[in-house]
Symmetry: C3
């Protein structure tokens, strides 16, 4: 295990925490919390691996599931304390989303996919877990919200895929793409950025 594995395990824990805080509903028992945490953490990467016909990452290394389950359990126990620092968790979530999305474009490229597919794998990984979670708990998905969530992932993944196609050095490029994704997402959290009205569906008069 090198240090990036440690980062990804931390990212899984963060996804589980924010997933449980977003999904908590009255009458959900601790088992539902575990499922919500695990699904949010590993759902997007699972879709990516199925589409690329790669071995599912947590079948290869089940530690991702254990870490997510542990983080979900901790969130159940310490919910009030975690909610008091929700904003910090949201920024960590922005960073983890960026990390996983850019890793996924890199993984797709390494498996021989073209830049278009690699970009799509970044988006699938970045938003897939949250979308599946919302479906499971009956919450409107992020498609129905004006909050910027897909866009930072798409921009960063496009930058990464295009940079590799143009021959940029892999590690600085990945760091820049992660910074761009996390930066735009953090701006959306902090300043409420969204698309202007003319890029948003208006009811037809």
């Amino acid at each position: 295990m090198d240090w990036t594995d440690g980062l990804f395990l931390l990212g899984s824990a963060v996804f589980a925490v924010t997933g449980v805080l977003a999904a908590a509903r009255q009458d959900m028992d601790v088992m539902s919390f575990l499922i919500v945490g695990v699904v949010t953490a590993v759902g997007g990467g699972t879709l990516r691996d199925l589409i690329l016909d790669a071995p599912v990452f947590w079948v290869e290394d089940v530690a991702y599931v254990y870490v997510a389950a542990g983080a979900a359990l901790a969130t159940f126990v310490f919910e009030q304390r975690f909610r008091a620092t929700l904003r910090a968790f949201l920024y960590l979530d922005a960073l983890a989303t960026a990390l996983f999305a850019i890793l996924s474009t890199g993984k797709a490229l390494a498996l021989g996919a073209g830049p278009g597919v690699a970009l799509l794998m970044g988006v699938v990984t970045g938003i897939g877990g949250g979308v599946i979670r919302d479906l499971l708990v009956g919450h409107p998905t992020l498609l129905l919200s004006r909050e910027l969530f897909m866009t930072p992932v798409l921009v960063g993944s496009a930058l990464h895929a295009a940079g590799i196609a143009l021959g940029a050095a892999a590690e600085p490029l990945a760091l820049a793409a992660i910074a761009v994704t996390a930066g735009i997402r953090a701006g959306a959290i902090r300043f409420g950025w969204s698309f202007p009205d003319w890029l948003t569906h208006q009811p037809l008069g």
Copy 2:
């Protein structure tokens, strides 16, 4: 690229347009429209390929995604004009659904599946994209509607799978199956065909 590839690209564009027109909701931004269009266009075929353990078709040729995204964007920009010709798009959608479903039974048979599985792959491809789209935008799925959508696909796919099993010539059979599927679906759009009450669930008194 032979001429059938061109047809399938056109079909993807049609699915994206009708998907966006069906799913448009207030507060959806342009990025949500892109996702809705792409998911409607490629969702069913993706499920088919995953189930058959075939390479996902748009990973092999990402043009399907680009065409769907472009059509979704055009629908966002020209929504009022497209809505004015909604009925024409619905008939095109019937044709594209038939084309994709019958292609899918053929693909399944070519991959060695039996006629039963081939028929099911036709249904999965024909309705999968629309079902995933409805889930993503919180719209009741077609399972909850009396509109005939699955039935034309099932009938045409069954005809195709049975014909191949009985040794019919592949191309005329496929054209007939496409005509049957598109014809029943078009009749449902035009005349509001649905199952009679005795084939519909009645609340228990």
Copy 3:
């Protein structure tokens, strides 16, 4: 076909019946019932096979789909009679769920997965079909209910996976794990068992 195949076909029929009884809504036509029955019966095993990159079981043997479709059709026709014996079907469902879940941990182990992944495959198989069905018909998923459904599956699958890892004899262990899963689930049906309040989410005051 040995006698376990017969058991699994019976289990598929039971899932289809309970699935249709749970999902029946006004205006659903007979085709929707067929889809609901088949999806409930084969959905969980399909997810398992996709995640393990194994051939999807009903692509290998489509009889599972035919049996589920036949059972769904019978439920449509004889709904009032079936509903009168709903409780008996629920106990059969508990047994079939246990059977499929423990089979799935065994299948995962046989394919080389570790005990953690095997346990998760038991849960995915045991609850996957019902969750997909609930999404398709717009019903709240079991994650939002306090009813014990995941827990019996998790306990039995954990027992099975741990037993195999510790070198227990396969057949008695599987029977014990099935009995534990079905027993806890039957207790939940009969006595309304659920997690105590302190293991259930409380609205934050």
